[in-house]
Symmetry: C3
Subunit: 216 residues, 3 copies
């Protein structure tokens, strides 16, 4: 039992480290986009914060869990600001670290999708909607980042990004419906999301677009 408690604590620590790691990765994506568009240091910090927290904030507002977690726990702001400052000073260096940043981003997507679905279930949403909110938690930050830069959100046309989030959130929701234990389900969901996303990057998997050429 003592061993179990220690393992439990280890798991909590691991999830926290991964969560902040995901936040960091998402913040890097926001800050890098800001540097490219010549925002000032404040704009870069805003984009870092928005890209890493907008998904969770929107979820919390929608389920009525206000104030949102990332406005209560200062570490999200701290981690996203750190990412912003790093990008401000060393953005060319970050751009060269393309592969690890992308992998961290996939970790963030997996964690956010799984945690988002779990939180929505805890607030009593139906399974389908909980899965949807898991996806929103995962992709909301990237959408906010792109809207702030007056661009069409990349997730609406990129390689299996949202579908990976949906798969992960779906596993969590299915596990909940079947009364499976939470932790293994969450791990399975996260692993599926992460694996799908990495495969999509490696193989260039894309969702189909409509056949016809644009009409107007």
């Amino acid at each position: 039992m003592v061993e179990g408690a220690a393992a439990g604590e280890l798991l909590v620590t691991l999830v926290r480290v991964l969560d902040l790691g995901g936040t960091f990765a998402f913040a890097l994506s926001g800050a890098t986009a800001g540097v490219r568009r010549r925002l000032d240091i404040f704009g870069i910090l805003v984009l870092a914060f928005a890209a890493s927290t907008a998904g969770g904030i929107t979820r919390d507002v929608l389920i009525g869990a206000t104030p949102p977690a990332s406005l209560v726990d200062w570490r999200y702001l701290g981690v996203s600001s750190l990412a912003g400052v790093i990008c401000f000073f060393w953005s060319p260096w970050i751009e060269r670290l393309h592969a690890p940043v992308r992998m961290l981003d996939a970790v963030g997507l997996a964690l956010f999708a799984v945690a988002g679905a779990q939180k929505a279930l805890a607030y009593g949403l139906s399974p389908v909607m909980a899965a949807l909110l898991g996806v929103l938690t995962g992709i909301g930050g990237g959408i906010a980042r792109d809207v702030l830069l007056a661009e069409v959100p990349g997730v609406l046309r990129s390689e299996l990004y949202a579908v990976a989030a949906l798969a992960g959130a779906g596993v969590v929701v299915a596990g909940n419906m079947l009364d499976l234990p939470i932790v293994p389900t969450a791990i399975a969901g996260g692993a599926l999301c992460f694996g799908l996303r990495m495969m999509a990057i490696r193989r260039g998997w894309q969702l189909p677009v409509a056949n016809r050429p644009p009409v107007a």
Copy 2:
């Protein structure tokens, strides 16, 4: 009395059918815009859902009615996804059905404006603000669709779209202030909104823009 109950049930069914019809029409507008901009199937489904539910979701968040109705009732997601799939496969066909789709869209606008104002009144907002939230319910989806596509919302410069919504919501609010019965008032408001919108389309009615040429 039995007759009255039957009529009441018929009315509820009618409103539900019209409500889902309006959702469907708004979702078609979102999905069609997504197809035109070459989004993938996921992006098209997102635009369909956003265009048909963002107005109601924003209203519910603003009045504190969380989680929003369209995240609780799965039929909104179902109907909007159906519209998205149809557009994905047969968008040229949808584009040719211009007139009926526009009429359905006007039905949706009328229903959303009236229902939005009623819900805001039920949550204790003042008449003026309830009318405003009715308008927001009607036009919010179109705004979300255009913002996601990085375009200036069409409703901010199109033919009497918001004004029709305001007229419909205004009738509901005025009826509430005069203690008139709800159902006839709602029907009158919806009919006014629908009629104004169809006339605006047919006759090309526009709101004025400022006289001066753009300064910068």
Copy 3:
């Protein structure tokens, strides 16, 4: 004591006048932008309302204070609509009044930042997050205005705008942590924000942007 009460009342009136003055200035900025982009009269009124209230509305939604103050008190809508109508008819005249409008805008920024931080503290947010919400209250309207016009928000790259708001909100939060009396702290915070903003305009102070040329 009677004198004190009279002075207190005077202060409340003064704050209200300044608050509505700030709303008016922000609404002018939204309406002017709408006129430039050739929106119709409805679009101009929407931009005026969004630019003057989106910051406060977002803050209220995030801290769970729904319905938001500016949807409960009709004067915000009244003042913003007045600004919209004025811009619609006399926008070239408004554009020539550049300096006073900018000063009024700085007043609005100072008031919104200070009041936003105070409200967030009253709802139990931590000092850092209260300062953040003060900044959001001050700059949220301008962000909403620019997003609706499909532009990158100017505040993300303009002269010390957000930093001035942060300084003002920071004074309020610091005063709260040190148990200083509210009114003098608020005045000091507001004066600091206003002063910084005016200096930034006069001297062209800018935040730094990252050194490297855009990569893509």
